[in-house]
């Protein structure tokens, strides 16, 4: 019984952490806009934490380049399992308009496994919330399969 309560709780309390791999800041502003009274993601139990050790969901914006790939990997490794990664915006998904630049590796999935891709330039808060909810559904499936 307690085990099933823990499994249910996972989807009800996703603590997010967001990392900017070097975006134009547009997606970051939209991520933070989710926390404002207009969207109020806290009503789904979502809290924006600043510590990977407390986070369940990693939101990544921006293109990965050779300098910050290590940082991204390090942050991902510091998050305890079970965890989910959501790539946000055109840059996070594929590298966007910067994909051909000499210092750019590409999308987030070149460095860490991504569960959900949220499109947009910048991604709308509605799309980001949708992405987190989809991420949680996948997350629940993963946990069930264990």
């Amino acid at each position: 019984m307690f085990g099933s309560f823990i499994k249910k709780s996972r989807a009800k309390s996703p603590w997010i952490m967001h990392f900017d791999c070097g975006s134009c800041n547009g997606c970051d502003i939209e991520v933070l806009a989710c926390l404002t009274p207009l969207y109020d993601v806290e009503r789904f139990g979502i809290i924006n934490v600043g510590n990977p050790k407390h986070a369940d969901v990693l939101l990544v914006t921006g293109t990965v380049n050779y300098r910050n790939a290590k940082v991204l990997k390090n942050i991902y490794d510091q998050m305890p399992e079970p965890k989910a990664v959501i790539a946000i915006g055109a840059c996070g998904n594929t590298g966007g308009v910067f994909r051909e630049a000499y210092n750019v590796i590409g999308g987030i999935d070149k460095v860490i496994p991504v569960d959900v891709y949220v499109p947009g330039c910048p991604a709308k808060p509605e799309a980001i919330i949708d992405g987190v909810v989809t991420g949680l559904a996948k997350f629940a499936e993963k946990v069930e399969a264990e």
């Binding site: 806290e42 934490v49 407390h54 399992e81």
Partner: protein, 282 residues
Amino acid sequence: MDTLILVIIGLVAGPVIGGLVAGLDRRVTAWFQSRQGPPIMQAFYDVAKLLGKEKMVVNQWQVLCAWVYLIAAAVSVALFFAQGDLLLIFFVQAIGAVFLVMGAMAAKSPYSQVGAQRELMQILAYEPVLILVFVGFYLTTGSFSIEAVWQLDQPLLAKMPLLYLALGYALTIKLRKSPFDFSTSHHGHQELVKGVLTEYSGPYLALVEIAHWYETVLVLGLCALFWTTNVAWMAVLLIGTYMLEILVDNTMARMTWRWMLKRVWLLGMGMSVVNLIWLYAG
């Protein structure tokens, strides 16, 4: 036998009440910001989720420290419900508080270290106030035992109003609320990330959280002792105090530890001493 039942009630009711209070707190805070806020059960979901996460520790000290913090907090609440000795309760909860700091100090992370130093300052601020409040209990009832308080025929608040205000300071610091929330910021993305809690993660963070619920119940229980003659007025006093606490939390900015020591030592301890002189002379 009765004592044993009271202890069990304390151990079970502690986290339940503490978790509900934490949930209500977030709900009311959201209402202040004209948001809807999370469900009242949210605190339980958070802790259950944390319990199910991977065990990641920086070193074995943290495991021990998280457990000692929880056990000390639970024992102090159990002693409180068993109507034990106030001084014993005080020492047991102090052990827990110190172990939380030791756990944070065991990690090399600068956030954790700075948080630990600040938490020590907080302990330094509220512990003297707590002990003076207990001295007030002694001067009024002639005993440090909680049983003696229940035998009074008029509420303690009439005799110790200034000590109650001083206890309010201790409550704000113990709950780590603004303006005294500098050892663990509520919002994890501020300058300290999470202060003392930075290096605790997964199940160990859950233990710390449950211990915090116990401590909330303990300090609210101390507040309840100020109106033991009438249950309705006790409830009014507790709800009023906690609402004021949330209001202060939402309207105040975080201050520095120097500001806190000045305020709490001068005002809090000043009020306590004036009240104690009044009790002693009267």
